[in-house]
Structure formats: structure tokens, C-alpha cells
């Protein structure tokens, strides 16, 4: 894996909507590189006979029956919102990033 450089960190910061100063970018590039290297050492320990996994617990097919449960009232749903209007969350207009 290529090392994490300053541009990578700046790119990630932009994607994550985190504002970072020049010093922070420098420091984080160094720290992230160490973290990635550390994680890489795991793949040295695991041999070819160990399949990659995203879920360490040997569990699958955990389902819920299609039965309606509890809901919030609009008032409850909005109780933590910074701003609301007409029973809806009020947010600044943002150009579509979806």
C-alpha cells in the first residue's frame, strides 16, 4: 500500500467536511501513515488460508419480522433539531451532493 501523503489527507478532510490547517494536515499525514502501516502488519500474520472477513463473529441471517413497532411523534422527532418548520427539519439550502 502506498504511503498516506499530505494530499490524501487533504482529500479525505474535504470528503469528511473537516476543516484542517496546514499544520494539522502535516501532522495527520504522518500519524495516518503509521496507523496504516500498523494495520498492514495484520496481513503479514494472516496466511493464505485465512479468508478476508468484514464480520469477526460467525453470525448471519439476523432478521426481523415485518411487523410495525414504535414510532416517534413529529414533536419527539424534532425535539433535538436546531431548527424546524411545519413539522419538518429546517436545514440550509445545500446543492445536491447525493
Amino acid at each position: 500500500m502506498a504511503a498516506i501523503n499530505r494530499d490524501d489527507v487533504a482529500h479525505l478532510a474535504r470528503l469528511a467536511h473537516i476543516e484542517m490547517s496546514a499544520q494539522e494536515l502535516d501532522r495527520m499525514a504522518g500519524e495516518l501513515a503509521v496507523i496504516v502501516d500498523s494495520v498492514k502488519s495484520v496481513s503479514e500474520a494472516a496466511g493464505d488460508d485465512v479468508p478476508a472477513t468484514s464480520h469477526p463473529i460467525p453470525l448471519n441471517n439476523v432478521f426481523r419480522e415485518d411487523v410495525v413497532g414504535h414510532t416517534f411523534t413529529a414533536e419527539q422527532a424534532l425535539s433535538g433539531a436546531p431548527d424546524s418548520d411545519e413539522n419538518r427539519f429546517k436545514v440550509p439550502a445545500i446543492l445536491d451532493e447525493a
Binding site: 441471517n61 414510532t71 427539519f89
Partner: protein
Amino acid sequence: MNTDAILSFEEAMEKYDPVLGFEVHVELNTKTKMFSSAPNVFGDEPNTNVNEVDLGMPGVLPVVNKAAIESSIKIGLALNCKIAESCRFARKNYFYPDTPKNFQTSQYDEPIAYDGYLDIELSDGTVFRVEIERAHMEEDAGKLTHMGGATGRIQGADFSLVDYNRAGVPLVEIVTKPIEGAGSRAPELAKAYVAAVREIVKNLGVSDAKMERGNVRCDANVSLRPHGRERFGIRSETKNVNSLRAVEHAVRYEIQRHAAVLDAGEPVIQETRHWHEDTRTTTSGRAKSDADDYRYFPEPDLVPVVPSRQWIEELRATLPEPPAARRKRLQADWGYSDLEFRDVVNAGVMDEIEETIAAGASASVARKWWMGEIVGRAKNADVDPGQLGVQPATIVELSRMVEEGKINNKMASEVLDGVLAGEGTPAEIVEKRGLAVVSDDGPLLEAIDAALAAQPDVAEKIRGGKVQAIGAIVGGVMKATRGQADAGRVKELILEKLGVTV
């Protein structure tokens, strides 16, 4: 404001070969959401069908809806897909207020269904195979309403209001492989493909399949390449094209626009386009860029889905007859010609005719009523024929009255108007309006004498053997009896009177 140049469709086709691709989102009609037990209901008061999972509150744990998995597998099977031995969910990360978690739970590298196909029948009967790349499960996002500004569109809006009732509604996204070789039929194929997917999910009963409600939504990818070149051109993706007609128009428009760009020697920009129904054009959305770096990673809160082969076979056994096979069977049963049957399908009254025949009407009577009477009324009212609410039993009763000679076709049509206006049953309306065929020959003979006397030249023609002139006399009699006479009987009596045999 749209200033894009376009080429005529014909010229675009002479120079270029279109390649299509579709992403169709299907909202499932489960009782609850994909990962929460909040109800999946359209049209309720804002933010009342939500709980902590839908609002992405800290520390909550999503749990997969079993019925949504079953619906997804059924869709996969109906699209002739393979069903994954094991698949998992993934987080698609992005910041936008329609997703309170800042990620959409979706599938990425392991979709539940993959490698399928759908045979699409075009209007002239040509069959075109569309390959399906994958069908994966995900959740819908909340609904934003842009406020302020003049247009209600995002441009110029001051703020947005968010309703999370739709957040977490189960979706299946169906992705095609690149579709090559459609040529000038690309727009028609686009419409037919989306129509076929809609019909399948409706037939399976897994979605309400109403495009006007967004139950089925289409993103259409279009690119062009010069004839004979293998490499694809750069594509555009037109988002949220939400009616069958719009799918056809959007593909056609994008082909024309791309052709003009290429003709000018410029590169097509890979971007999202927005469809505008009012002008039937697209405008530029955003360019594909860093913003598309969704940093997918496996969803740690959900364990893999491993559908057993036995479960899949159980689900396969519940699948209804595929739409194409059903159409073939019905046409054979009803004895309609290819053209007649295609007209019925295109008018959207196949189900209605099937019900009417089941209620006791003959196939030809059912077709005559739906195609001859009801489709036209629906068009005038700007609704689907099925929405007029004509009951099969009403048609059976009307046609029986005509066959028994109680009323004629013209009156039956009038009675149908009465039924649609809510005046009662056909029998009640016939009674109330005093509609009945005059079958006593006495008054008819009087009217015939009068009509013959009024048009002696016509009478002479008929005597001379020009029987087709009889229409003018029959018309006079029908007018005199205010349409209540049996036209067939009138004809007989006139010929008798004039001593003509045919």
C-alpha cells in the same frame, strides 16, 4: 434556461450508435422499513413514521427486515438473476440532509442478485434482450422540499425542509449492463424496459409500482460512439426520470444533445443531468468528481445475509406467471389478432378485460367495451382506464341488455355514462331515463312512412337496388324516435315496405 444545441434524431442516428444503461430503483411495499420497525406508508404527516434508527441517532442498531429480503430475492429471480450464496451491506458515505446518518446503507461488492436478463418486447413484436448486471438492496432517503426562491427548485432556495418518513424505506436498485445495438429504437427500448420492470414488480406484489409516487424511479445513462467503433463514448446520467413517457423522451433528447456536442468536435462531459418535463430537455447537474468518492466499507452493524438454496427454491415456487408468458396465454385464449392484442396492451386495459371476461362477458364484447367506449372516456378525463371504476359486472349487464334487444348500442353507451355519473345500476338507469328499444312495429311504420315521404328520391334509389342509400332513411327514423328504435328492425321494415330483398 437551456441553451444546449441538439441535432435532429435522424441525423444523430446516421452518425452515431447509442449505448444505454439504466438504474431503476424500486420501493418495496413491506409494512415496515428496511432496517427499522417504523411503518412504510406513503402520504402520512411529516416525521411521524420515524424512530431512532431512521433518524440515525447514536448507538442504535439496525435489524434487517426479512420480508424485504424475500421481496429482493423474488425480484432477482424474476429478472433471471443468480442469487448470492452470501452477501453483505455496505455504507455509502456522503453528506446531505436527506440522510441523517451521513451514509446510506446499501450493498456494494456483494449484491443479493446478479447476472440476469430480461427479454423486452418492442411495439412491433421484436424481442430485445437486456442484460442485468445486478440488483442490490438499500434504503431510501428522506424527502427535501426547497423553500424560498421563486421556482421551488434548489437553485435560489433559501432553506430546505426535511421529512424523514421515506428514510429507510426498502429499495431494490436494478442495474443493467451496457445495452448495445438498439440503434434508433433506443428511446422506445428505454421506455419498454422500464415498463417491463414496473410490470414485473407489480405482478410480484412486492411494490405498489406507481411511478407518479416514486415507487419506481429511473436513472438513464446514454453515450454515443461513431458507427463501427467498439469503445464506448462518455456517458451522461439523467436522474429521476419518473414516467414512462419521460424515459423515452429523455433518452431521445440526450442522444440528440450528445450528437451535437460530438459534431462540434467537443468531448461529452461525464455528468449528472436533470430532466425537465415542461421543456422536455435536460440541464447540467454536477460533474462527476471527488464528490463521487463514497468511501464504501462493509456495514459493521449488520451481519451477512446467507439465503439457503431451499429458501430460494421456496420463493421461486411462489413466483407468478411471468408477464410475457401471461400475455401470450391471454392472447391465445381470447383469440385476438396481434394488432388487436397490442392495442389492448398499449391502452393498459389487459387486466380489466381479463376481469370482464371472468365476470361472464365474451372476449369480443369485453374488447368492444373497453377499447370502444371506456378508453376514450378515460382519455377525455385524463386518467387511466382502470381509474374510471367501471365494474366488470356493469359491462356484462349492459351487453346482456343489448343482446336481449332491450336497449341498443347507443343507449348502452348512454347508460354507461349514467353509471359513471353514479346514477345507479344499468337496470335502474334504463328505468329512470325511460330508455327502451321501441319494438312495437306500429310507431316505427309511421316513422318510416314519414321518412320515405320526406326523401322520395332516396326511396327511389333503394327501390332501384341501391340498398346502401338506406342509411338516410334509417337516420330519419332514428331521429323521429329519438334514437329509441332498433336500427336493425327499422332496416328490415323499410326493405319490406319497398319490396326489396337483399
